[in-house]
Symmetry: D3
Subunit: 189 residues, 6 copies
């Protein structure tokens, strides 16, 4: 029942929950190869049952306040999403991430959603450090981190095994004071 | 981060979650006697730890898709809430309920919130029967059921023991077709 | 090892437990269509493994003191049973129910067993309200409620989805003082 | 609701369940020193909460079909009980045991109850070997084993630490064919 | 990473853990009929998944300090193992056991490993009674008990059902003072 | 029972397990302030019960193959330890860490233990990337990473809240080929 309008083009952010299993599966089936290029997101969700299990894992993490997943709907179609991971309110840190099906790229959907998500983490939940992790070759993902005003903290060499290949993982972050300063002087994009 | 405006008077509906424990406790402390007149809602939440446990039980039920709890904020202060209980998507049925602190009564907050909640249950989740249960003496609660266009199904005699007294429980309900018809011809209130 | 004679016709009431799985399955196979006319009782128990799982669910609820299931044996053959559900000793309330295979109907088996079960609930466990729930079309079940001296509390409209059809559920009940009064002045049946 | 008369002196065997916590505690308080002479039975049950926990552990084992506990009532007072332990239907073996408060000794209560329990284990549940374990110094317990027609299998030296002292444990047993033969030619006691 | 040399013939004792599943399976496949002559050890481990599950059960018991399993490697090949069972530090008692594939017999591997294991149990963990259980027909196993200086406590008649046949189980034991005395005056073997 | 000699000075590496609770507590009590300067290791272990709980958490993670903890004993006294964390055999990555009480510093104990641990991770468990994380101010810890031939991957800014202060976390790593190359050309230390 909750939804956040992300602009005038029909883009909305909503909680993504186990009862969306069929919609989630249809979305994955449209974007599976693209989504799984660098990350295994949703790769175990290959039918309605496993799609529900994937969403249930997020629902359980949300109940434990360690993660949350939010879908991006465009004109009523689920086309991707953003999420928090390793959410640790006591330590004031979390990771954020995203995924999109190909048809939804190029519109700044993730950047718009991420601003809402990071605002909430920083202002409502007291998160001090928001982290972004991306395979070094995933230039689109790294571009989002840069667009969000993040700083590159380093490269965890060979940290991720995906489809039999070892990938370096870039670690980017934005701290609460940086995020707030940027809010006052937004970049022209 | 999600919020639904319920009107122009600063009333909002938001997910109520374990991290709201301190706010939830302060709210209960303002309204405990009033809230617990007919129902034990929040009665075990007497400090921050037990307030968090109470909200955690709802968070776990939400993860299991059997209940959900939503807070009512008035000008930024938590003043009550609405909830689903015994949510059974396969059977197409659920119960709904509410609570308010005294200062927030008389504004139709619950009725407004309940319309959003029932709309979601009926239109998004396929619920066919929405049930309302209230002690026979709880005239304020029964008035809400009537205002929502519900029908009285019966009285479960002596079904609820509260503060050492047995209460009859009135059962009211609205079915999906009735809810939709009412949407097209809303009552003048 | 426990058994309660219900009369001179070889009818006995005994705890029905997971180790009865084969006997329970054979009984269900004789009465499945009849038993499942209005309720899904035992419908998931289609082989010895699932029959044991069904009985295990009751065994777990019995350990939690929230339900109990008792078989009816006629001349050594399991032909049906009675059960408590939503047993809530703190609130002083429970639901009771029953099922029979066709060959065992017409002998008052359920009524006899139910008297034993309700006596125990009321006199041993302090239950104040015993509830009976039946689909409106299930005249046989409703006749038992009437025979037990219960009162119709109301009709939960469209509350039960069974085999794709919505059924109204009648709610009947007997309260402890009524039950005890009836014991002193039993009806002539 | 289940009860088995053990004779004409008002002795009955009934399932002992968590809701008997207060009655169980009162009984233990009358017999604690006597009962705990050789075994720790009930020693952790020192108030209603811990008494309920002790009975809950048995309830959980009963649900798992690995143990069961049955109270002995004499003229309506709980005075002791018998139990199965390490119940293993697949292997056809179990242990049985007992406890009594002092006022209930000398009446053969345990022997009578044990005959019912072993009959059930052997004839209903297919147990081939029923084992009895007693500290070597516990002559009363060993006398029961002998009275039940059991054979001494051996002595597990120093196997039990109780109140800071190591006790040898005698192991006695009766096998199904022996039990049945004894039924046909009962001893004169 | 831990390993204990058991002599100059390349025999080593190491923790056997879930990640050894493939090696464990290959070993079982070489010795299954021999190992399962009297005991069901590893009989459910018939592919890598079930082999890992079998080792996981031991890993969980080790975490609970109720059992431990240690592999015997001969020149880098897993050929058998020793284990503790029913480990009860509070009571000062445990059971020990072993298994070997045929090619590894006749070298005293188990006896050597068992001395290390019992030394640890007695001297590090305060175990007073170490028990050995073997089917009466398992002369090789009983010979090890004798070689370890154990005493026969008795015979639990018909206590073990294996492959449809009931076996008597011999119970042997060694107590801490006996074990220490033997250390000072080792037998000539 | 397992132990690995780390040199001629009486230093040994052994599994650290829940039954070491008293020894672990005494060790922490000698070094608590020093150990907790940059990390919360053992800070919740303030009596025997909480010390056992701390070790039990590691035991459970070890059973799940996600972590392991190993104590360093010097002449029979527990003086510190090394551990694996976030052990992920499927991904080929893990973190390693350490702690020491003050009296045990300056002897290269951790470096020696770490070589054994990393050798095992890389050669036995197929770990490709071994990570070391240290607060930027923890020069002693960073010196160990350097001594182990690790490379600094970056600095996760403000990632760790400890004693109310935010610390940058340096991330160092060594990859399997680097580790093996270093084995062939060890540094002169």
């Amino acid at each position: 029942m909750y939804a956040i309008r992300l602009g005038d083009d029909g883009a909305e952010l909503r909680p993504l929950e186990p009862w969306h299993a069929e919609e989630f599966l249809a979305h994955l089936d449209r974007g599976r190869d693209f989504v799984n290029q660098y990350i295994p997101f949703g790769s175990r969700a290959t039918d309605v049952t496993t799609a529900r299990e994937a969403l249930q894992r997020y629902a359980d993490m949300r109940a434990a306040d360690t993660a949350s997943v939010h879908g991006l709907w465009l004109d009523g179609t689920l086309v991707g999403g953003v999420l928090t991971l390793n959410f640790d309110a006591a330590n004031g840190s979390c990771e954020v991430g995203c995924w999109l099906e190909p048809a939804a790229t190029g519109r700044g959907l993730v950047t718009r959603a991420m601003r809402v998500l990071i605002d909430w983490a920083v202002e409502q939940r007291g998160i001090h450090r928001v982290e972004w992790v991306a395979a070094s070759g995933n230039t689109a993902s790294i571009a989002v981190a840069r667009r969000l005003g993040m700083t590159r903290d380093g490269v965890r060499r060979a940290a991720h095994l995906h489809h039999g290949v070892r990938h370096d993982l870039e670690v980017w972050s934005v701290l609460a004071p940086e995020w707030r300063a940027r809010d006052r002087h937004p970049d022209p994009r």
